[in-house]
């Protein structure tokens, strides 16, 4: 199981790009931390998550 934004999900083997797209996030407004480290955008397609990983997908919203 992979923890995605605090929820355990059966997502092992999926790439970060897939998680972002399946989560409905806009690629332009997102930042992803995998096990507390940033995933560079250039690596989204090649970074796959594994069982036990913790992923935080931040979809930014406007206002400031």
């Amino acid at each position: 199981m992979v923890k995605i934004n605090g929820e355990e999900k059966n997502a092992a083997g999926k790439t970060v790009a897939q998680l972002v797209s399946e989560g409905g996030y806009s690629m332009e407004r997102v930042a992803v931390e995998l096990n507390f480290e940033i995933v560079p955008k250039a690596n989204y397609e090649t970074t796959a998550v594994r069982d036990g990983d913790s992923v935080e997908i931040v979809g930014f919203v406007g206002g400031g």
Partner: protein, 216 residues
């Protein structure tokens, strides 16, 4: 009738700060350097909080000028309309904290210039208004500077409960404040007090990091 008195000496000023914050914390605050990226409702308020706390070096970055639509929540005065925000806020903060080092740049941050412009500072504060610019800054800072702390804000529009605004630690040195969802592009307005709650969360986290407490 009120008469202007001389402003306190630097020593009197820091003694008063130490009485409020404790000598140890004040020494850390005085040594700290923070760069605030974006000087709108978040950044201008965060800058006030950090200047009042006696943060030693505050660097202000924004490319925009003061607009009448900013006055409902941003720390500018009607007589500053049209002035670059970086200049206007520099003037005000220099008056507020004359012994801190306050510097500013009126420039648009990009993936190309962030690695050089933000290099000198210990802590980076993301205080932009556009979601894609927030993401750009967060990604670029975290990719370029693994050793720096970054405190960001997302989700403070509208008039939802202030209790929904939180500080979360999402990376080893990355903190996100806000309710995470209320988007100004959904037609919600921006109200001074609620934006300031998020700004105060960000400023509090920055001061906690300076103090050596890294929990959200």
């Amino acid at each position: 009738m009120w008469e202007a008195v001389k402003i306190p000496t630097q020593e009197e000023y820091y003694t008063a700060l130490e009485e409020r914050h404790g000598e140890q914390l004040q020494k850390k605050l005085t040594k700290a350097s923070v760069c605030i990226c974006g000087l709108g409702g978040l950044g201008s308020n965060i800058a006030f909080y950090l200047a009042r706390a006696g943060v030693g070096h505050i660097h202000l970055i924004d490319f925009d000028t003061v607009d009448i639509s900013n006055l409902n929540r941003q720390q500018y005065f009607p007589d500053q309309l049209g002035q670059p925000k970086a200049e206007a806020l520099l003037d005000t903060l220099t008056r507020l904290a004359p012994w801190s080092r306050i510097t500013s740049q009126s420039i648009k941050l990009t993936t190309d210039n962030i690695p050089s412009l933000l290099a000198p500072f210990d802590i980076i504060c993301e205080a932009f208004d556009m979601a894609d610019q927030k993401a750009m800054l967060v990604n670029t800072v975290l990719e370029s500077f693994p050793e720096k702390f970054l405190v960001s804000g997302s989700g403070m529009a509208g008039l939802g409960s202030a209790n929904l605004i939180k500080t979360r630690k999402l990376g080893s040195r990355f903190y996100l404040c806000g309710d995470g969802v209320s988007d100004v592009n959904d037609g919600l307005g921006l109200v001074s007090a609620r934006v300031a709650v998020c700004a105060a969360h960000q400023a509090t986290m920055i001061i906690r990091i300076i103090s050596g407490d890294y929990d959200a």
